[in-house]
């Protein structure tokens, strides 16, 4: 029993190290990776819960990546799971920044590194797009949801609403609508 628990935590740690190491370009790039690792591959999280987790992560302050790690860690293995997931997702960037700080930025000046990331950026966008499509299929089942998503997107893109407003507006329209 104890071994089983330790094994779950260890797997969670490895999963989130992988996720943390490949989160380039902000927290949302991590969403498809989490989906693949925890929902598709290991089936530790249901589709429903995955979407709830993202909503919670967005509604709270803090980095999206950390909030999602907290939520899914907690869902999979309680409080120890939460700490494990946060530790795993932070560790890669923590170590790399320590290295970069010690060697004074020369890492970023490197042309090879820059070209690598220039090539990887379109793939990051593609990953986020995949996430939007696969989550959208499950989250926006009614036409009104799709319309709302487009309206909220317009508000944030063109009218420069703060993301917090988008979250609050979503919550209010949810309350207001009769299910």
């Amino acid at each position: 029993m104890v071994d089983q628990k330790k094994k779950t935590l260890f797997n969670l740690f490895i999963s989130f190290i992988r996720i943390g190491a490949f989160t380039w370009g902000g927290g949302y790039a991590m969403v498809p990776l989490i989906q693949k690792e925890l929902v598709d591959k290991k089936q530790l999280i249901s589709d429903e819960d995955f979407i709830t987790g993202l909503s919670v992560a967005q509604g709270l302050p803090g980095a999206i990546a950390i909030n999602t790690a907290c939520y899914f860690g907690q869902r999979v293995a309680g409080f120890p799971g939460m700490l494990t997931a946060v530790l795993g997702s932070v560790l890669p960037s923590f170590l790399i920044i320590l290295m970069a700080a010690t060697f004074l930025f020369h890492f970023g000046d490197h042309e090879l590194v820059q070209h690598f990331f220039r090539g990887a950026t379109p793939a990051i966008v593609a990953l986020i797009a995949c996430g939007i499509v696969s989550i959208g299929k499950k989250a926006l089942k009614k036409r009104i949801d799709l319309v709302l998503a487009v309206v909220l997107f317009t508000l944030v893109l063109i009218f420069r609403f703060h993301p917090l407003w988008i979250v609050l507006l979503g919550a209010f329209t949810g309350l207001w609508r009769k299910s």
């Binding site: 923590f94 990331f117 090539g119 990887a120 939007i132 979503g170």
Partner: protein
């Protein structure tokens, strides 16, 4: 006597730095609504304006570095500033302080949800949040695309990766690595 007083003084000063690091990154973690990118002005205010731990130039360097390394930008800056100000211990304290509000708040929310999951109002709010999730993810994708997909090669690579990953023909992580290698070959 004087020397020992100096020692104590230095000791207190060292501890004070750790305390300040903790407080300022805890504050950033508490008020960074809308993810790490939204935290940037907050981080700038705390570490450049208030405490002057970094110059504006160093801060811009830090953002560039963050774009070239994995991890959320807020975590990267916490680690970097913490290290500059207080060594490895400082890095540890700053990063931990930034994560702490997330840990506490998510714990509260998951406990709340466990009790009230069946509640109709909670269900409605959760359903209402779904369009917000999609809207904010789209915004994140679009802003990265605006910065990073400026030529035909990048566009083609993006479209190709989208098909390969959405058809599940290729693992997302492998796709990132392959696209990076394609970047090295093409832009050289």
């Amino acid at each position: 006597m004087d020397r020992s007083l100096g020692c104590i003084h230095r000791f207190m000063e060292e501890k004070l730095i750790f305390f300040q690091l903790f407080l300022s990154f805890f504050r950033i973690g508490c008020f960074a609504f809308g993810g790490g990118a939204a935290a940037l002005p907050l981080i700038q205010k705390e570490i450049v304006d208030t405490y002057q731990w970094l110059t504006t130039e160093q801060f811009v360097d830090l953002i560039t570095l963050s774009e070239l390394t994995p991890g959320p930008i807020a975590i990267n800056s916490a680690t970097f500033v913490g290290y500059k100000v207080g060594g490895v211990m400082g890095a540890f304290i700053a990063t931990g302080a930034f994560c702490l509000p997330s840990i506490v708040l998510v714990m509260m929310v998951t406990n709340f949800l466990r009790v009230f999951e069946e509640n109709a109002m909670v269900q409605r709010v959760l359903k209402g949040l779904r369009p917000s999730v999609i809207a904010l993810m789209s915004l994140a994708g679009l802003s990265i695309a605006q910065n990073g997909m400026r030529d035909w090669f990048a566009l083609g690579l993006g479209v190709a990766s989208f098909f390969l990953v959405s058809k599940k023909w290729i693992d997302p992580i492998l796709m990132l690595l392959l696209a990076g290698i394609a970047g090295i070959l093409y832009y050289r």
